[in-house]
Symmetry: C2
Subunit: 184 residues, 2 copies
């Protein structure tokens, strides 16, 4: 059975799941797999969490769609086993990529379409101006995420540790014209 430590974590992620657009089952399955030292099969998961076999099956399918768990086989056992990626940075990256694909991209595409429509009156002109602001903000932040995703974990870590002191670097960059586009 689950240790009290694991159980608390699992219950917490069940609740949090709803805020991330997945249900309690999915959150709990993920949490259990994240903590587990070895891969688990669907029966083990169902038993540990008290869910029906079919519920576990659906939950695992969703987690696979999110690329948050991967399927593997144990030698001499024909059941499917599941595990989460080991590297938490990789998990973080996957999560932001999926969020982007599911939420950000559809929104961007709606905004782009809306901005192509000719405005009929002042109200629409104003609405479009607002949409343009949102569009530009989203495009800038996601574009940045895209680039930063490609950095190695170590570089990323350095950047994070740098924090707000990055301001100093930016000033320096301007003076030294490192930003790619030459500064006037």
């Amino acid at each position: 059975m689950m240790s009290p430590l694991t159980e608390r974590f699992v219950l917490h992620f069940g609740e949090m799941g709803s805020r991330w657009g997945v249900n309690r089952t999915v959150g709990q399955i993920y949490a259990l797999l994240f903590l587990s030292a070895e891969p688990l099969n669907a029966d083990e998961i169902g038993e540990a969490l008290g869910f029906s076999r079919s519920n576990v099956s659906m939950g695992l399918k969703e987690l696979q769609a999110w690329r948050l768990v991967r399927l593997l086989h144990q030698p001499g056992d024909r059941r499917e086993y599941f595990e989460t990626p080991k590297d938490v940075w990789e998990i973080f990256r996957t999560l932001t990529e999926e969020k982007r694909r599911r939420e950000v991209e559809p929104t961007l595409s709606l905004l782009r379409d809306a901005l192509l429509e000719p405005a009929q009156d002042d109200t629409e002109r104003h609405a479009q101006a607002r949409m343009r602001e949102m569009h530009d903000l989203i495009e800038m932040t996601t574009g940045w995420f895209d680039e930063v995703h490609r950095l190695s974990p170590e570089t990323l870590q350095k950047l994070m540790q740098l924090g707000a002191r990055v301001t100093k670097l930016l000033e320096m960059a301007e003076r030294l014209r490192i930003g790619g586009k030459e500064v006037k």
Copy 2:
């Protein structure tokens, strides 16, 4: 009535709302206010979206709890009017702050507690090691967000435009010992 442009945007945000932990009503109210050129009162909102007065009232309350809309009064009118902040960067900042307060902080606090417990066996030791990894990742990324939040929109924008070229800057920073802690 809503223009087709506004309507599409509003419906989209209604759907997206659910993914952000708010319901359709709340998402639509926010979207309507975001696009509106002037503040709206609850009756106007309810009529535009086809929601009951009480539903609008609850939705506005929630949006205020998120600090995503603010209340104001029109001279000579005793009804309450609502608007969204104008600056999209400010909106973005508010959103991340609230998300942090509601999701990240409770998780961090759970992890901290769990890490203080003495491990009973290897399984628990492994679980704690995983929790430590998650804890450190979250603490690092949110600590970084905290600092970056304090930057001016202009600085932030420069940082974003820099994107992955930030690597070059980091190398330079190490050479010049700008990172705050002196490099060995």
